[in-house]
């Protein structure tokens, strides 16, 4: 068990070292969320298109675009695994005395690590743009946990998809095809109660909505009523995707 955790940690360490060696990706991926928060939100605010009590629209969508951004980061991990297969890196991992589930968990949590770094940058920039973040260490730690869990779940989902598609070409378009609909069919940029009924139904079963809701509560409103449910859904989501991805993982190299 200790050995198992050590091996997962070794994979996370690699991810941290990678980020330390090259941070440009973190910055380029911060551009889009900042456009949403700094340009889109103020315009919408001006015309009062979306009425939200107590907080500004900019504050409302900050957790939404943050989740969108880390979804993109995570959905990229399946592609990354295919890429590593083509390079032989994955083959080498599979020949090492490490269980398949440790490899999947290591990869998934690596997405969580990157997600945290990505979120830090976005939150800092949002704060500069005038978003008031709840400064409560416990809330922020919970938010970080939720981010890790959510990233891990999407990365595992992505690894599962990669094990079905197997080639980079087939996987390429899938990132957009999955994340954009999930983003728009969630509470990321408008409240669920403003949605038409069919979209409401989709948003309710969309795991993205729960991550957004949880982060919005922990980082912006400070109203924790929904947080237990948000965590529950996210934990179930991550457990299911990791179990499935562990089963299918080795198919990538066949």
């Amino acid at each position: 068990m200790i050995a198992y955790i050590e091996k997962v940690l070794a994979m996370l360490e690699v991810e941290v070292r990678r980020i330390m060696h090259d941070r440009t990706e973190l910055y380029t991926r911060a551009v889009q969320p900042i456009l949403w928060i700094g340009v889109f939100a103020p315009v919408m605010e001006k015309f009062r298109v979306v009425p939200i009590p107590n907080i500004t629209y900019m504050e409302f969508i900050t957790p939404g675009v943050l989740v969108q951004s880390i979804t993109f980061v995570s959905i990229f991990y399946g592609l990354n695994v295919i890429w590593e297969r083509d390079l032989g890196v994955l083959n080498k991992l599979l020949v090492a005395p490490v269980s398949r589930s440790a490899l999947v968990i290591g990869k998934a949590l690596s997405a969580g690590v990157r997600g945290i770094f990505q979120s830090l940058i976005i939150v800092l920039l949002a704060e500069i743009l005038g978003v008031r973040i709840v400064i409560n260490p416990i809330y922020l730690l919970l938010a970080a946990l939720l981010i890790v869990v959510f990233c891990a779940a999407f990365a595992a989902l992505s690894i599962f998809i990669a094990s079905l598609l197997k080639t980079r070409e087939r996987f390429m378009g899938i990132g957009q095809a999955i994340t954009m609909p999930l983003f728009f069919a969630s509470n990321a940029i408008y409240p669920i109660n403003l949605m038409p009924n069919w979209l409401k139904a989709v948003a309710t079963i969309n795991p993205l909505s729960y991550a957004v809701e949880g982060l919005r509560a922990l980082m912006i409103t400070g109203d924790l009523t929904t947080v237990p449910l948000d965590f529950l859904v996210s934990f179930v989501f991550v457990a299911v995707t990791i179990v499935i991805a562990s089963q299918t993982f080795k198919k990538i190299i066949e």
């Binding site: 070794a10 070292r17 090259d22 890196v89 083959n91 080498k92 090492a96 190299i253 066949e254």
Partner: protein
């Protein structure tokens, strides 16, 4: 089961229900040898390595590494082996040392020993002074050496190398060969390597198997294989009466067959072992006062061996494909 380090019994691998990559492969690798698997592109070399290293299951048949089944005891097998894939598979965005550190942790090298083992392995492949450089900036040969260093971090009993010198220039290839022989001296292990280079199979391996279209067509030391083609011969050119020379040669027990050579006055005798035969032939001819103008020994190359067993020339089947493959490998290194 046997005492062999690797024993392979009747392995068959069919990809996607159509491609028969391995078609009943059986072989044994003995302790402490460098065993080579020589074959053209698509022969099934990588497939065999991937099955033996527990990456993919065989369609049928079985194989054992130090008595452990690669199917039922895959986890145990993984603890015994090191592996260098055909592709250059280092993490190019990290330093050499960081690459080594990662694998030492993955292989569960105790933290107190990590630094020492990493430094040993790196110095063995001549990379210690490059340890803190990001691997992107390594040459292809250096990346290969780093991979070999990684693969021995857990002191494997068996090291699998899939085309370890592909895409390297001659000096890079020679460097790898010398590091491998040094490695064999310092660690007790068995090496199983694939190659499609004749010279590599010839110079580096103790024994080799020739694989073609998923079948092992010959196994032995390179000189055994060459001898088995029965193509060793000695050609003598002499002004002496030709029939007389032929008769003299015919009287020798080890001479198998005699033909007239292409040139005027030349005679070619096929023999079991050219090196031994040449001494006796010279002394017999001397005794009978035959004036020899020139004498040459013809030894078959591995190319001849390949032609004899596989029915095609290895070089022809390889060159074009190889160019493509090398390019691919180089691209990946970028």
């Amino acid at each position: 089961m046997s005492n062999n380090v690797i024993s392979v019994r009747n392995l068959v691998k069919v990809y996607d229900k159509v491609t028969r990559a391995l078609d009943g492969v059986s072989l044994d690798v003995e302790e402490g040898e460098i065993f080579g698997l020589l074959g053209p592109n698509g022969a099934g070399k990588t497939t065999l390595v991937r099955i033996l290293t527990t990456q993919i299951p065989p369609t049928s048949g079985e194989a054992f590494i130090l008595g452990k089944s690669i199917i039922e005891e895959a986890e145990r097998v993984r603890e015994l082996i090191g592996y260098v894939p055909q592709e250059i598979s280092v993490m190019t965005d990290l330093t050499g040392y960081e690459n080594m550190l990662f694998y030492s942790k993955l292989y569960g090298v105790p933290s107190s020993e990590r630094k020492r083992r990493i430094e040993n392995a790196l110095s063995l492949v001549g990379l210690l002074d490059k340890a803190n450089i990001v691997v992107k900036n390594y040459s292809g040969g250096m990346m290969r050496r780093l991979e070999i260093a990684q693969a021995i971090i857990n002191y494997p009993k068996v090291l699998f190398l899939d085309e370890p010198t592909i895409g390297l220039d001659p000096s890079g290839r020679k460097a790898i060969w010398s590091y491998l022989s040094q490695l064999m001296e310092e660690h007790e292990m068995t090496i199983f390597m694939t190659t499609h280079y004749m010279d590599e199979a010839d110079m580096v391996t103790d024994r080799l198997a020739i694989i073609n279209l998923g079948k092992i067509v010959a196994v032995g030391t390179s000189s055994e294989l060459k001898r088995s083609t029965k193509l060793e011969s000695i050609t003598i050119i002499s002004k002496f009466h030709k029939e007389e020379v032929k008769n003299l040669l015919n009287s020798l027990p080890f001479v198998k067959q005699i033909y007239d050579g292409k040139e005027e006055g030349s005679v070619t005798a096929y023999v079991e072992n050219a090196e031994e035969a040449v001494i006796e032939i010279i002394s017999t001819l001397k005794e009978n006062n035959v004036d020899v103008e020139s004498l040459s020994m013809n030894k078959p190359t591995l190319d001849d061996v390949f032609l004899a067993y596989a029915g095609t020339k290895l070089e022809e089947t390889t060159s074009a494909l190889e160019a493509r493959k090398v390019r691919r490998t180089m691209q990946r290194m970028r």
